[in-house]
């Protein structure tokens, strides 16, 4: 009898304790995320976190963490993606992409995620916290949105195709968070996108203050600098933008957060893990949070994937001046080649056998047969320099002399900058656009600016081992195809495919 009582007791316990049926037993835990409907963005801290999230998204490998930098190089006369490594970027370098290629589709998605983060920040109703800081963050968000749309346009817009310029198909411009309204998805013209970018930059500059000087986030200086970059870009299609570029650059330089890096500091400025004097805006990475194998370093480095190599003939000629710090061994490296007789090194424009017993420096690459970037993005954890002060200077110079060939301030700035690059630099008194472009190219080689610089001056992309006859300015190939999965969902227009 005792046993039976015991058993009944157990049954009651089992049924009562475990199978009780109240509905809250069904609630799932969400402990690594936050429900935006239940707990929306409402405080200064929340808002800053959303912006922090936007920067984190920008530094992913499929945006500034690698791809957009590399797109600017492998489609130019600086570099290409060589066969026989990991096969990354070859299809980009070949200008052979179609709507299903992964690169356009990854970039499209990642850039729009950044836009989404910015729109979340802009649309949030933040009431808790210091209004000055709230405004600054909101301003950052407008600037992030402008930059992201600009980058989207650089890749996907048809501004360089068949002389369409501002009338070419641009990209959609997203102004709302989680916008599911298809009416807002239509592609705007390049000109319309430009106007919206400018409008966002105006909003950004109104809201931001000069108290924030963290260069790992957008500052007023950075926004002005970006404005000069953007206006210079559009000046290729509309002369009036030269003035905007020049003024924005001038205002940016006037903020005074940053300056040109000295000749002595040039090489090390690329190795530093923290922002330097010439940093205007850089995206932070560290030893733990970085793109790892997908980093810029890994795609350039022979010890990594090593796909992206320099166009040797062009770059050897470009960096032939030993007095130029940018031609130094640390930046361009030595070029070694191996044969059955031993190791050769490239000295004074000819191959010299490394003598028996000559010290072999472990840091050098004795089997490298390609021209490589050694000086920039020196490790996986290197910050991504989105904008350096030198670019603002060059933007000013280029806009100014395009407006007025003898712009005195431009020449002064040019001489000041060059004095920090060449040993024993002799100042110039006149300046041609060609000179400016050559120096600009040397300054920013491997940093992803070259493709747009070439496009701005309507240059053809020359032959590389990946693209046999080059790509003429105006070709449909100069715009990325709109990803097929985007067209499936939004039916937006595809770019020209021939």
């Amino acid at each position: 009898m005792k046993k039976i009582i015991f058993s009944i007791l157990s049954m009651v316990l089992l049924s009562g304790g475990l199978a009780s049926c109240s509905d809250d037993r069904l609630d799932a835990t969400l402990d690594s995320g936050r429900d935006n409907t239940e707990r929306p963005i409402e405080s200064e801290r929340d808002l800053r976190a959303v912006l922090t999230g936007a920067y984190s998204r920008m530094v992913q490998y499929n945006y500034y963490g690698r791809d957009i930098i590399i797109f600017g190089e492998v489609r130019s006369d600086n570099a290409y993606a060589e066969a026989g490594f990991s096969n990354r970027f070859q299809i980009v370098s070949q200008f052979n992409m179609n709507a299903n290629t992964i690169y356009p589709s990854d970039s499209w998605e990642q850039i729009l995620r950044v836009v989404s983060s910015a729109n979340l920040a802009i649309s949030s109703n933040v009431t808790i916290g210091d209004p000055v800081n709230i405004n600054h963050s909101k301003g950052e968000a407008y600037a992030v949105r402008a930059l992201a749309h600009f980058d989207l346009l650089r890749l996907f817009g048809e501004q360089n195709v068949k002389g369409r310029a501002l009338d070419g198909r641009g990209v959609p411009y997203m102004l709302n968070f989680a916008d599911l309204d298809k009416n807002n998805y239509a592609r705007k013209t390049v000109g319309e996108v430009r106007d919206l970018i400018y409008a966002d930059l105006v909003s950004a500059l109104e809201l931001m203050n000069d108290g924030e000087q963290n260069k790992k986030r957008l500052t007023r200086e950075a926004v002005l600098g970006l404005k000069s970059r953007i206006a210079l870009f559009f000046s290729a299609y509309d002369q009036n933008d030269l003035q905007i570029a020049k003024e924005a650059a001038e205002q940016a330089m006037a903020v005074g957060f940053s300056s040109v890096v000295s000749r002595g500091g040039y090489v090390d400025s690329f190795k530093a893990e923290e922002p330097q004097v010439n940093t205007v805006f850089e995206l932070y990475q560290d030893n733990v949070v970085n793109a790892g194998n997908n980093s810029i370093n890994n795609i350039y480095s022979y010890e990594g994937y090593g796909d992206v190599v320099g166009l040797e003939a062009n770059l050897v000629a470009l960096f032939d001046d030993a007095k130029d710090i940018r031609s130094s061994a640390k930046m361009q490296g030595y070029k070694y080649i191996r044969s059955k007789d031993g190791e050769y090194k490239f000295v004074n424009n000819q191959y010299v056998l490394i003598a028996e017993g000559e010290e072999v420096e472990a840091s050098k690459r004795y089997t490298t047969e390609y021209y490589r970037n050694f000086g920039k993005y020196t490790s996986r954890s290197s910050n991504v320099k989105v904008m350096r002060f030198e670019e603002i200077v060059f933007n000013y110079i280029e806009a100014a002399i395009a407006l007025s060939p003898n712009d005195a301030k431009a020449i002064t700035l040019f001489n000041e900058l060059m004095a920090e690059r060449y040993e024993g630099y002799a100042p110039v008194s006149t300046l041609s656009l060609e000179q400016v472009l050559v120096e600009r190219r040397k300054e920013f080689v491997f940093e992803g600016l070259r493709f747009d610089d070439m496009m701005r001056h309507k240059m053809d992309v020359p032959e590389t081992p990946m693209v046999k006859d080059g790509v003429a300015f105006g070709s449909y190939k100069l715009a990325f195809p709109i990803p097929q999965n985007e067209i499936n969902d939004s039916q937006i227009e595809q770019n020209d495919v021939n």
């Binding site: 046993k3 039976i4 058993s7 009944i8 157990s10 049954m11 089992l14 049924s15 475990l18 199978a19 509905d23 037993r25 069904l26 609630d27 799932a28 835990t29 969400l30 995320g33 936050r34 935006n36 976190a49 959303v50 922090t52 999230g53 936007a54 920067y55 984190s56 998204r57 066969a83 026989g84 490594f85 990991s86 096969n87 052979n96 179609n98 499209w108 998605e109 729009l112 995620r113 989404s116 729109n119 997203m174 989680a178 916008d179 599911l180 998805y185 932070y284 030893n287 733990v288 949070v289 010890e303 191996r338 059955k340 999965n485 985007e486 499936n488 969902d489 939004s490 495919v497 021939n498």
Partner: protein, 1013 residues
């Protein structure tokens, strides 16, 4: 005449009277087993308390009446009955209850039914078939045995997950894997491997196959509706062994064997063949420009491409051949298994216990599997009314995996395909050749890196039942499933993935805890004599908690491999998820004289995964056993004729939790926590499925020949569809209930015992299942059905889910050697991106038909079983063709398939391989892009299992002092036929149809010994 008849009647009546008067008599006899008399056998007159027991000599003596039914029973033996007739003695030969007299099928929630009582579509597999399959996980025994069950291995590595599809693809986003229920506990489908890049580990690999008593595959709604939301893709019930009363008996079995890849795979170019293609390419690209002919290509290459792909060194070293396929092979990989079990007990309690140890190496270097397990199952009758059952199974599985789930540089299977054959394994001085960049020397990395999954799993189930009355029983069950999976990873700092980080170390711990409680009542009642009802009601609550803690670090000193030794860049991650499920189940079975059967089932279920939490599922099933009708009893030919059918609903809830939440996730940037919007969220509810199943079962000549045919149709609507969103919204996709699809097909099963004599048995069987999968409605967005087109497949209404969709290959232009595809207008083009038109190819990766055929022969003790499996009507894509068909500059640091030797060389050549060009021009730039050039028919036939064995007869076993002894040779996958000669890989591919670089299924030869004592 008439008076004579009357007289006779009177006489007969008198005799009857006499019989009824003289009814009581004494019946005696001897009870024995195998020639030995059995003492203590209980002999009872059925329906009474009267009876006796046999004495020490096995004799009994009992007062009986003619017509009484005697029941002879003895613990551990088959009970026998005897209807008393005129005889005064009756000797009984009893036997141990190895074979059940009538086959029974274990159904949902522990219901056990005979074949004739089943209205649904369920197929039972006995434990023998499981143990006869020398594989690490029990589900591998299902292949070819169940019509409509399609199976493919995600990898042939021991313990890797199997992909099972029952009756096609029922969902587009939620899982298509069936539900596994082990002893009543529904299991979460999971891959216990710590790293998604390395070898998967099946949940069933953590169960000792020898502990399995039976498996039942439930296919139709009648059988699965009680599992409600999780029954959509079919249910696989696994019943493990329980104790058997009787003298304690032991079973010892051991097997040892070796394995190789079932299919060799494509042959790769040898070092010199590669040079030939490489030089061809250089000549075709640069010959004119630099003015050399084909014979001068080697000099040109040596001068200008010395450093490319190690070419110069390879030439300098005398053009040696380096066969990386051989280097990564683990030929004749050994397999050993030992199992020991014991069972016994008395009337009030019994037990089953087992111990097992398995060790299996993979056919590729660096991968093996070891499992040690123990189980104990106890039954205790606490009183006449209360039974208590408990069982516990513990296993520890240790799997050395490789990075085989993708094109990882450290994947030996991938390395085999792509490793540059100009790269040696060793340097001239005998040290490993460690290339500075590109593919790793995988032999070195496998020997110096670690990827271990160490999984400990405890499954415990307890049930207590209380017979309130004879017809009413209360049962309470509590099941616990706890898994702790550890992943231990290490990459050495010298070479491979760890080099750039000076070595990496990882340790992941995953803990899954699930408990399930069920309380239910069973009630049995009759209305009149012929109407029997069985009713069951049940409430079930299941809670699953999963947490994951990961630590990783870099910079590891030589000689250390553990995370504790990592000096820098330490990082951690954590994740916790839970979900809960509450179900109410009702089952009503109605049985009219075993002629008419009606089953009703219903389930109301609530799940935490949905905003609309509650779902109601039901089924109705019926069967008519025509052969039980009186008018059928007169004939002998047809022994079974059963018509059955069922209709019902299921759902699918196998998606992750919190999918309805608009979610912000936490990220890190510059030492600050950031929030990013990652999930749009929105209301979601149950995916609904309606299943129809009708069938006929036929048996002839006392069921010597059996034939069954079934037609099924499953319509899934309100699909849990991860709708792709325009990226302009900022989100990639959104889980919604939209769209519908349909699967239908026919399943046929046939079994025949052609010869059945004492010495010789011969039987054959076959099964075939077809499935036609169609999207009936794609999600409607803005009034139009979506058309989702990808590079390889597209989802469009009217086509199968994931039907192949790509440009059609038009061959190589015999004049120019250029690759060509078809335009939409049927003309050929060499312009891939703009002109070649993608189109459907009438097949998906899902076979349109699958099946198996088996042959069983026994002559005296000698037995032979053979089983063929086949699948067809589907296509598979050679996804690594972009490497293995690369005969451009891609080839320099890589390798290609030997098929490429058939390249076009001169005008007029008819071939499928274009001209070799170092820098490709025209169509050749896109030769390896998706097209039907690399899409192959998937049809295959495979000799899945071949067993030849011998059961030693009683004389020998008695001499040896054992109960039974058998030995056998088991061969698996000994022979494979593929329809498409271009398909050089193993035809068993994962359900997405992509030929992968996981370890292919194995061909094994195993020797097995089984002793019972």
């Amino acid at each position: 005449m008439i008076s004579k008849f009357k007289w006779t009647i009177v006489l007969v009546m008198v005799l009857f009277v006499q019989v009824s008067i003289a009814q009581v008599k004494t019946l005696t006899g001897v009870v024995s087993e195998g020639g030995m008399t059995l003492p203590g056998v209980s002999v009872i007159i059925k329906g009474t308390q009267e009876g006796t027991q046999t004495d020490l000599d096995g004799k009994y003596s009992l007062q009986v009446k003619p017509g009484d039914v005697l029941e002879f029973s003895f613990i551990g033996m088959e009970s026998l009955t005897y209807k008393v007739g005129a005889a005064a003695t009756h000797n009984v030969e009893m036997s141990y209850g190895e074979e059940m007299l009538e086959e029974v099928v274990v159904m949902a929630y522990g219901q056990v039914k005979t074949k004739n009582e089943v209205t649904g579509n369920a197929v039972a597999i006995k434990g023998d078939a499981v143990t006869a399959t020398p594989m690490a996980s029990a589900d591998q025994a299902l292949q070819g045995r169940v019509a409509g069950l399609q199976m493919s291995a995600s990898s042939g590595a021991p313990g890797a997950k199997q992909n099972i599809r029952i009756r096609g693809r029922n969902s587009m986003t939620a899982t298509n894997e069936p539900l596994y229920v082990i002893d009543g506990v529904p299991m979460y489908d999971a891959d216990f491997s710590g790293s998604s890049s390395s070898t998967s580990l099946s949940l069933l690999a953590t169960i000792n196959p020898a502990d399995i008593e039976s498996m039942t595959v439930l296919k139709d709604a009648g059988a699965t509706a009680v599992y409600g939301a999780r029954g959509t893709n079919g249910v696989i019930l696994i019943t493990t062994k329980k104790g058997k009363a009787g003298v304690t008996k032991f079973n010892f079995s051991t097997r040892v064997g070796f394995q190789n890849n079932a299919v060799k795979g494509p042959r790769l170019l040898s070092s010199t063949e590669k040079e030939e293609l490489f030089l061809d390419g250089l000549y075709n690209t640069y010959g004119t420009k630099y003015n050399f002919d084909r014979s001068g290509a080697a000099d040109f290459a040596y001068a200008n491409f010395y450093g490319k792909g190690n070419y110069g060194s390879w030439v300098d070293n005398g053009r040696q051949n380096h066969d990386w396929s051989e280097y990564v092979k683990n030929a004749d990989a050994p397999l050993t298994s030992i199992n020991f079990s014991a069972t016994g007990g008395g009337e009030r309690h019994n037990f089953y216990a087992s111990l097992s140890h398995d060790k299996i190496e993979s056919t590729v270097i660096g991968s093996d599997f070891r499992r040690i397990g123990a189980s104990l199952s106890l039954m205790q009758k606490i009183s006449d009314k209360v039974d208590f059952n408990t069982s516990i199974k513990v296993t520890n599985t240790k799997q050395n995996g490789t990075s085989e789930n993708g094109a990882y540089f450290s994947n030996p299977n991938y390395t085999r395909l792509v490793m540059n054959p100009w790269n040696p394994l060793y340097n001239n001085d005998g040290s490993y050749y460690l290339p500075n960049s590109g593919y790793h020397n995988v032999v070195y990395t496998v020997n110096n890196n670690t990827k271990i999954n160490d999984v400990t799993r405890v499954i415990n189930s307890n049930s207590l039942s209380y017979a309130i009355t004879d017809n009413l029983k209360f049962t309470s069950t509590l099941g616990i499933d706890y898994t702790m999976a550890e992943y231990i990873g290490y990459n050495n700092p010298i070479h491979g993935d760890g080099r750039n980080f000076q070595g990496t170390a990882d340790r992941y711990v995953r803990k899954n805890f699930t408990y399930i409680a069920q309380n239910g009542l069973d009630y049995k009642f009759y209305l009149g004599d012929s109407h029997r009802f069985d009713a069951k009601v049940l409430v079930e609550y299941q809670k699953a908690k999963r947490d994951f803690l990961q630590g990783s670090g870099q910079v590891v000193l030589d000689g250390f491999t553990s995370l504790g030794a990592a000096a820098a860049n330490k990082d951690n991650a954590f994740m916790y998820e839970d979900d809960a499920n509450l179900g109410y189940v009702g089952i009503l079975n109605y049985n009219y004289q075993n002629r008419f059967l009606v089953d009703l089932t219903g389930r109301r279920e609530s799940s935490s995964k949905f905003t609309d939490r509650n779902g109601v599922f039901y089924s109705v099933g019926g069967a008519w056993n025509v052969h039980m009708e009186n008018w059928m009893l007169e004939q002998q030919t047809i022994s079974t004729l059963k018509l059955r059918g069922s209709y019902g609903t299921n759902g699918n809830s196998q998606i992750g939790p919190n999918k309805y939440v608009q979610q912000l996730d936490i990220v890190t940037y510059d030492g600050e926590a950031g929030l990013i919007p990652t999930q749009l969220g929105g209301p979601i509810g149950w995916e609904k499925q309606k299943k129809l199943d009708v069938g006929i079962d036929l048996g002839f000549f006392n069921d010597r020949i059996n034939f069954g045919v079934a037609y099924f149709q499953s319509k899934t609507s309100d699909l849990l569809y991860n709708r792709s969103l325009s990226k302009l919204s900022g989100f990639s996709n959104q889980m919604m209930n939209m769209g519908s699809l349909d699967n239908r097909g026919i399943e046929v099963e046939f079994n025949s015992q052609i010869v059945r004599t004492d010495d010789f048995d011969l039987s054959i069987g076959a099964n075939l299942g077809t499935v036609r999968n169609r999207i009936t409605e794609m999600p409607v967005v803005d009034g139009e059905q979506l058309e989702v087109r990808g590079s390889y497949t597209a989802n469009i209404t009217g086509h199968a889910v994931g039907e192949w969709y790509m440009p059609e290959w038009a061959g190589v232009d015999p004049q120019t050697g250029q690759a060509m595809w078809y335009n939409l207008d049927g003309t050929k083009t060499t312009v891939y991106n703009a002109e070649a038109q993608s189109k459907f190819h009438g097949a998906s990766a899902l076979p349109k038909y699958t099946g198996g055929a088996n042959l069983d022969v026994r002559y005296k003790g000698l037995f032979l079983n053979a089983m063929l499996t086949f699948a067809g009507g589907h296509k598979v894509y050679e996804q690594y063709a972009f490497k293995t068909a690369g005969i451009t500059s891609v080839l320099v640091t890589s390798n290609a398939s030997a098929e490429m030797l058939d390249r076009w060389q001169k005008p007029g050549d008819i071939t499928d391989v274009p001209m070799a060009q170092y820098a490709a021009t025209g169509g050749n730039k896109n030769f390896t892009r998706p097209s039907t050039r690399f899409l192959h028919d998937g049809d295959y036939v495979r000799l899945r299992n071949l067993t030849l064995g011998y059961n030693f007869n009683n004389d020998i076993t008695r001499t040896l002092g054992v109960d039974a002894l058998s030995m056998s040779f088991i061969g698996t996958n000994l022979w494979t036929w593929v329809k498409d000669k271009g398909l050089l890989y193993d035809p068993e591919v994962s359900p997405n149809g992509m030929l992968s670089v996981t370890t292919p299924p194995v061909k094994s030869l195993v020797f097995s010994v089984n002793v019972k004592f």
